[in-house]
Symmetry: C2
Subunit: 363 residues, 2 copies
């Protein structure tokens, strides 16, 4: 399939997402079409460095650009304020200025911290996203959310900083560890549940091609997810109208699962898979959907090698941790619950007893 | 004089600046007209804490708001990344969330770091400016520039984050130390030189009332400066067109003077006063203006107790430090030079020999 380009329409902050197979060598051209900068600060992590970032850096150098490659330690632990300060100082030492461009080559952690560096260095420089994990390709690289964690809370500081463009090469998914790939698929399934029943059905029908990481299938999957996310972001860029909150389907539970495991033991996408099942069961319990809608999600998630039951958790602790979520508004837990496959609604009208019953496996 | 309200027209980011005498007690009403938040994080410094911030906190509490008062050490040294992280963590510990408002009560340092906290906490919360120094009232509280210093460079990380509103009480200037007051007046004189000859003449004619800190005179001076700055910011919010650069008149020299003294020995306004004289002498030397225009600036600045000659500096070092300024574009030093009182132009067409001659006192 040829490379496809989607537009995220945010007026003067609008940008393109190019999605294709073997697009990495086009990175310098992609940048040149959007910026006249000759200085690129390329931020990556220790996993992606030799795999892809070195090559990306070489493409930029071949195109005549000056490139600084900054490598952070792979893993969520790097998404902190100390690494942020270190990146600021290194950029300054390497001669970056307000004419530089920051490019992120990596997964969500790299994109989030590099994006926050871009949002803040000299009060903001252009930012290019080259996501190399499925999660980053279908979710975190689109929409402009950037930031770091504090020890007490994830993503608690950051900015909305839209990229100059997003360049996606689905071929890089070939080297993604199985667990990471599956975790990315949890967010893919989420898009189907929250806004696109035909896409959910497409996923059900193409599990084998997906698991085999068939290039054309992945390109379609990534493109569809980016389009759906872009549509939501266009309507609610700064998470103000509530529209963008639908993307948090499963996440109120998921964040509590992640917090209960101190982050790291559980991949974000694994927590989201379990969280979506809980949210769907909660919707079932309060009469929003029938059992069939939950069952199809469970079967699809399991076929994609994702966990669907949070058996090991202390329900009371999880419930308590859910209250720490940033989305707690006006002292009420807010849930994104399906009303059918392809549609969700936001509601705070949920009794604590129902939530705890779900967590105790009493669906 | 009644309180006057100016509008900074930045579409959805537009805001009011209210300027009056004895306006502090109106802070809760001013906020309530602009936000329904019931939680205020009030950031101040150890100088302003007991003088004004406590009272402001009390006014908010009396109006039924929940208030957390965070006090940083007074001085430019506090405008750093460690204090930033500390403020983020304290806010989180005090229960701030995306529904909170950050209010800055203090000078430029407090406004800059509190504004950056506001720009980044939960990816941005509303921000109220209550500036208590002349410099902050006429300059830093208007325009949305927020940020912190790194050890290697001032204001190198930050954001453009427009306030919800700016509430100015000129009565608080009564307690400002003489040096701080004079330093603020340097920026006031700057506005006259760069864009408003009648205002420059007004200052010449009202030096005694200004030095006596006459309330009505100060209210007029602050209002005029805010209007002039707002006009520039409206045309070039993110410093992209070059228009906003005129505000840097005298600053290319000033930043080098400050760097040469390791910051702190010289107040920013003092450095700006000397820098403006150098810039004006440079304009004279290359034939843009006559000696009379420089002389009137020197006389006005001296009448306001400001320094006008940088005698103690090593010219070559200052010239080298000027190149570290963020405004170095395309490898050229860029100067804001007067073409007459009330008008300036941006130019890179300046020979190094001319700059060094000025620094050596060879005007």
């Amino acid at each position: 399939m040829p490379t496809r380009t989607l537009r995220v329409d945010l007026k003067e902050r609008g940008y393109d997402i190019a999605i294709g197979s073997g697009t990495l060598p086009q990175c310098a051209e992609f940048l040149a079409e959007r910026s006249s900068s000759s200085h690129v600060v390329l931020i990556t992590d220790s996993n992606v460095d030799e795999l892809y970032a070195d090559a990306v850096g070489d493409y930029f150098v071949e195109a005549g650009l000056e490139v600084e490659l900054l490598v952070i330690e792979a893993g969520e632990e790097s998404k902190n304020a100390d690494v942020l300060i270190d990146l600021w100082q290194t950029m300054l030492a390497e001669g970056a200025d307000r004419g530089s461009v920051v490019a992120a080559v990596g997964g969500g952690v790299v994109g989030d911290i590099a994006g926050f560096v871009a949002a803040t260095f000299t009060r903001g420089v252009p930012f290019l996203q080259i996501p190399t994990t499925l999660l980053a390709q279908v979710d975190s690289s689109v929409g402009g959310k950037v930031g770091v964690n504090l020890p007490e809370a994830k993503n608690i500081v950051g900015a909305f900083w839209q990229p100059l463009g997003v360049l996606i090469d689905v071929d890089v998914l070939g080297t993604l560890p199985a667990g990471e790939f599956a975790a990315g698929m949890a967010e893919v399934v989420k898009y189907g549940v929250i806004m696109d029943e035909p896409f959910f059905e497409y996923l059900e029908s193409n599990v084998d091609a997906i698991n085999a990481r068939d290039s054309e299938t992945l390109q379609y999957v990534v493109e569809r997810c980016c389009r759906l996310k872009a549509d939501v972001v266009q309507e609610d860029e700064r998470e103000e109208t509530g529209r963008r909150a639908i993307l948090n389907y499963g996440h109120t539970f998921a964040h509590a699962f992640e917090a209960a495991t101190q982050y790291g033991k559980l991949l974000h996408g694994e927590a989201v898979a379990m969280g979506m099942v809980c949210a769907s069961q909660l919707a079932e319990r309060i009469g929003l959907i029938d059992a069939q809608a939950t069952q199809r999600q469970i079967e699809l998630l399991e076929a994609l090698s994702l966990p669907t039951r949070p058996l090991e958790f202390d329900s009371e602790e999880i419930y308590r941790l859910m209250w720490h979520d940033k989305k707690v508004a006006d002292g009420k837990l807010r849930f994104v619950l399906p009303t059918r496959l392809g549609e969700v609604k936001l509601t705070s009208a949920v009794k604590s007893g129902d939530v705890i019953a779900i967590l105790e496996g009493d669906a």
